[in-house]
């Protein structure tokens, strides 16, 4: 068969199926092979909250989107070029996201009467037959049937055989986009080490998918996406939570302190626990507590004992931790609090993304309880800012918030990872033992950063008591003195403010230092805003983009940086949070731009909005 190769610069593929169809695994495998092949990429897993929602229903649809190319890729893509639909529900949920004229690869067996009924498709309205897909390039494949035929003598049951379907699709897409399959074969061998039969079956079906592409006229068109011209160096693919966990371990190594992670499982933060619990040979201790309060409290205990203490959760858990964050602030012990944000109050939408906990981090405690707040902007940035959060906590003896969100936590990108020797040192010193004749130890004496000394239990002559009751400065004794409380409240704020002397200046990410409009973002919206800014600049607009990673305190030059623009727009996936703080702190008449749908920004919608503001 003769095939035609077409060169394309980038493509967005969306794998969609039932949550039992293994779409996340398919997407991750495709991502790894694509990364190894040398493309730049960004991914977006979009899965239901229910682990096993009713089979075949719209509620159970799980999708994985990847955008890869030979150029710089900042986001997982607004719309997809190719949609893989394993069943009717997956098509129904995802078609609105497909480009006009896009390719749909359909598993026809997922459109039988039963699947149509489960997807609430009205009688006689099978999309494969009613002409509704006329504007698309539809490719029908009997995935289930072919998989079953390929494995009919494998000795496996139908259920086990059907679980290999996703490998067929993966093989086929590998063929279409000239991806190597060896990497996935190795993966399958590793994953099913203990079950040779299942390993063989998966590999066989993967190859069957590839061969199907090779022998069927339908797939005569293949696409070449050349490797991207990226900065020279060694790369890996990394997801946000994975990067955050490694950043914490790196801080532990650099500070020479054992890491203690006290936490309670919650989506989308649990993967940090899963990862850290595998790193015990790095002298890492993970503690799965009975709830989030115990999670943070165990970490406070560990911090008292001289560990690099970390706790992590998502919004609901952070709400529970509030009182203990106040305690850590009063104790002036180092503590990193991780919040992988998710959408909505209460349970909200656990698997959907949002950046609505900034005000919670800022103000969400009783009394006045300022903390340092950092927010990562991309999957790989989670590494650097998790590391930085630890460094600041340890060197300033202060609680530090690290904010991420479901979007970057589960998203992946290629990462030119650093060499450990290039990471900053983290300087920690414990108070030395004392004898009776030495001066009495003062637990709340301070250095130039206003940090108090870290005196570990077990050290001779340093016996002292700390607690949540207001302290007398320097001695640390209980004090209800009026003037002292005011002094201490101001000191705790000043301690946070002084961190500004130790963080980098705010940079303009794209565009000129001055202009008509500044897009001021924070957190996981980075890629979408960067792409949008690039489009606007290319169209001749005087627009720039700055992305704030240090949110409390802000970089010292932020006010001045904003003053060079006629308009400042703050796009956020919330109802307006950073914009409030910016307006309050800098008296800038910043314009909010908000999306609150549990979904990331699309670059196109940002472009339209900015043009509307500029007009």
């Amino acid at each position: 068969m003769s095939t035609v190769d077409t060169n394309i610069e980038s493509v967005v593929i969306r794998f969609a199926g039932d949550s039992g169809d293994g779409m996340q695994l398919t997407g991750t495998q495709f991502t790894n092979s694509t990364a190894l092949f040398g493309n730049d990429l960004a991914t977006f897993p979009d899965f239901p909250a229910e682990i096993r929602a009713p089979l075949g229903t719209m509620a159970g649809v799980s999708a994985f989107q990847i955008h890869f190319g030979s150029k710089k890729i900042n986001t997982p893509g607004d719309e997809s070029d190719v949609l893989v639909a394993m069943n009717a529900a997956a098509l129904k949920v995802n078609i609105k996201n497909l480009k006009k004229g896009g390719v749909i690869i359909i598993n026809t067996d997922g459109f039988d009467p039963k699947n149509l009924r489960l997807a609430n498709v009205p009688e006689g309205q099978n999309p494969l037959e009613n002409g509704s897909l006329a504007g698309y390039d539809v490719k029908l494949v009997d995935v289930t049937k072919i998989t079953r035929a390929a494995l009919n003598d494998s000795g496996l049951g139908v259920k086990e055989i059907d679980r290999c379907k996703n490998m067929f699709v993966l093989g086929l897409i590998y063929y279409m986009y000239h991806r190597p399959i060896e990497n996935t074969i190795e993966f399958i061998k590793g994953k099913f080490k203990k079950n040779q039969v299942v390993a063989d079956a998966n590999i066989k079906v993967l190859q069957a998918g590839w061969n199907y592409g090779d022998t069927t006229e339908t797939f005569a068109n293949r696409y070449v996406v050349a490797p991207a011209s990226m900065e020279a160096g060694v790369y890996r693919s990394v997801m946000g939570n994975e990067a955050a966990a490694m950043g914490l371990v790196a801080a532990s190594v650099k500070s020479k302190l054992p890491l203690f992670y006290g936490t309670y499982p919650i989506t989308p933060a649990s993967d940090i626990l899963h990862d850290l619990s595998k790193y015990k040979n790095f002298n890492v201790r993970t503690f799965q507590a009975e709830d989030e309060i115990a999670g943070i409290c165990s970490s406070i205990g560990a911090a008292f004992g001289g560990q690099l203490a970390i706790t992590g959760s998502s919004g609901p858990g952070i709400a529970l931790k509030g009182e203990a964050i106040g305690l850590a602030t009063m104790l002036e012990l180092p503590l990193v609090i991780i919040n992988i944000q998710r959408a909505g109050p209460s349970t909200g939408m656990p698997t959907k993304t949002e950046q609505a906990d900034l005000l919670q981090a800022y103000y969400g405690r009783n009394g006045e309880c300022p903390v340092v707040i950092l927010a990562a902007q991309s999957p790989s940035d989670c590494f650097y800012l998790a590391f930085e959060a630890c460094k600041i906590a340890l060197e300033h003896m202060i609680p530090v918030f690290f904010l991420s969100d479901g979007y970057i936590a589960n998203g992946a990108e290629p990462w030119k990872f650093p060499n450990s020797k290039d990471l900053a040192d983290i300087h920690v010193e414990f108070v030395k033992p004392r004898n009776n004749e030495d001066e009495k130890f003062m637990p709340y004496s301070r250095d130039e950063k206003l940090a108090r000394p870290w005196a570990l239990p077990g050290t001779k002559g340093l016996e002292h008591r700390i607690g949540g009751i207001e302290k007398q400065n320097i001695t640390g004794n209980i004090s209800y003195d009026a003037a002292n409380h005011e002094l201490m409240t101001k000191l705790r704020q000043e301690k946070v403010d002084l961190v500004a002397n130790y963080i980098p200046d705010q940079k303009i990410d794209a565009g000129d230092e001055s202009g008509d409009l500044l897009i001021l973002g924070w957190g996981g919206t980075y890629g979408a805003l960067k792409t949008a800014t690039q489009i606007l600049i290319n169209e001749g607009h005087k627009v720039s983009h700055a992305h704030v990673r240090y949110l409390s305190p802000f970089p010292k030059n932020l006010g001045e940086l904003m003053s060079k623009f006629k308009t400042v727009v703050v796009p956020e996936l919330n109802n307006g949070q950073l914009v409030k703080i910016i307006r309050d702190k800098y008296f800038v008449d910043a314009i909010p731009y908000n999306k609150i749908q549990g979904q990331p920004f699309m670059s196109n919608e940002v472009v339209s909005k900015i043009k509307e503001i500029l007009a």
Binding site: R236, K280, F282, R285, I293, G301, I469
Partner: protein, 342 residues
């Protein structure tokens, strides 16, 4: 013979310079004194002791001890101490908590502490009232108690703390009282010696908001008749003239008169027997009811076989290092698959 020159610690070494601020006559004073009496004798450097408390009158305790200490937040000392002990097994960690602190707001952490069994000691000051907040009923107050928040009598059925702790898989469960210094000291010492979580419930009189709650057990005139002092390997005998005992009739305990029954037929206390400990923990009835049982004091149950949480956690870390070698950060960061861009 060599003369040993040691700076032997005294109870004074364990007193901080902070003025003790409990109400005069409060049972907390006695507990502070007994702890300060026992600690110097344990042969351990002072700097290795850490007292962690929650909130309540009782939780002020760490301020008065010249050791390391943390006065934390209401109900959470258990969790804080677990984190501390897990990462610093070299320390002697003590939790000081009240009946409200441990069994109301901190109830969740309390039961999980006991099942995990880290090697630390809990001094549970039970005064059957909220002292610090000025006298509301607590989870151990008797039903019908008239307090500021229950003018018509409280509706809540109380916990039986010892039964709760046994149910929560505690490995050392004991009871003592503020008014019996010798007994208290002995139990505190045994608690310290136990490897695992030692739970010591201490009946503590709050003479301001719940005066006399335990009078019947502590007053000379009624103590012998109303208490059962348990000792391992000894028959359960009580009474003004040690003339009464407890006998097991199948699983049913019965009070017998030693004029009718031989001491040899009595129930012999066995601390290691969980079933018997469970039965005896149920001697918790109202002393005013007819045919009630005496209230037991001493060690109900000890389990020396359960590994401690801190040991197990640290063994896992050591095993991981042995198996995989000390973690290599660069290898970790590089992950399984990398590629080179030229």
């Amino acid at each position: 013979m060599t003369i040993e020159v040691t700076n032997k610690l005294t109870s004074k070494d364990f007193s901080s310079d902070q003025e003790v601020r409990w109400c005069p006559g409060c049972g907390d004073y006695s507990i502070l004194k007994q702890v300060q009496t026992v600690l110097p004798d344990l042969g351990r450097p002072k700097e290795e002791f850490v007292f962690v408390s929650g909130i309540g009158c009782s939780s002020r305790f760490p301020y008065y001890m010249d050791t390391f200490g943390m006065h934390s937040i209401h109900g959470r000392a258990t969790a804080i101490a677990t984190g501390l002990k897990s990462s610093r097994p070299d320390l002697s960690v003590w939790i000081v908590t009240g009946d409200g602190d441990s069994m109301s707001i901190g109830g969740n952490h309390f039961i999980h502490l006991l099942r995990r069994n880290p090697d630390l000691n809990v001094l549970l000051f039970n005064n059957q009232i909220y002292g610090l907040t000025k006298g509301q009923y607590s989870p151990t107050s008797e039903q019908g108690k008239v307090t500021k928040s229950s003018p018509m009598g409280s509706l809540d059925h109380p916990f039986n703390p010892i039964a709760l702790c046994l149910g929560a898989e505690g490995t050392f469960v004991a009871r003592t009282m503020d008014r019996d210094p010798k007994h208290q000291q002995a139990i505190i010492r045994r608690g310290y010696e136990h490897k695992g979580t030692s739970l010591i419930e201490i009946y503590q009189n709050c003479n301001v908001f719940n005066d006399g709650a335990f009078e019947i057990f502590t007053e000379k005139s009624s103590k012998k008749e109303e208490t059962l002092m348990m000792e391992h390997g000894k028959p359960l005998v009580f009474g003004e003239n040690s003339d009464k005992g407890i006998k097991l009739d199948g699983f049913k305990p019965v009070i017998v008169n030693l004029n009718d029954v031989s001491v040899n037929d009595l129930w012999v206390h066995d601390e290691t027997d969980l079933v018997k400990a469970t039965i005896i923990s149920r001697f918790y009835d109202n002393p005013k009811t007819e045919g009630h049982f005496p209230r037991p004091f001493g060690v109900f149950y000890v389990n020396n076989d359960r590994a401690t949480y801190d040991d197990q956690l640290n063994i896992q870390v050591a095993d991981a290092i042995e198996k995989y070698g000390v973690g290599d950060l660069d290898k970790l960061i590089a992950g399984r698959e990398t590629w080179v861009v030229n």
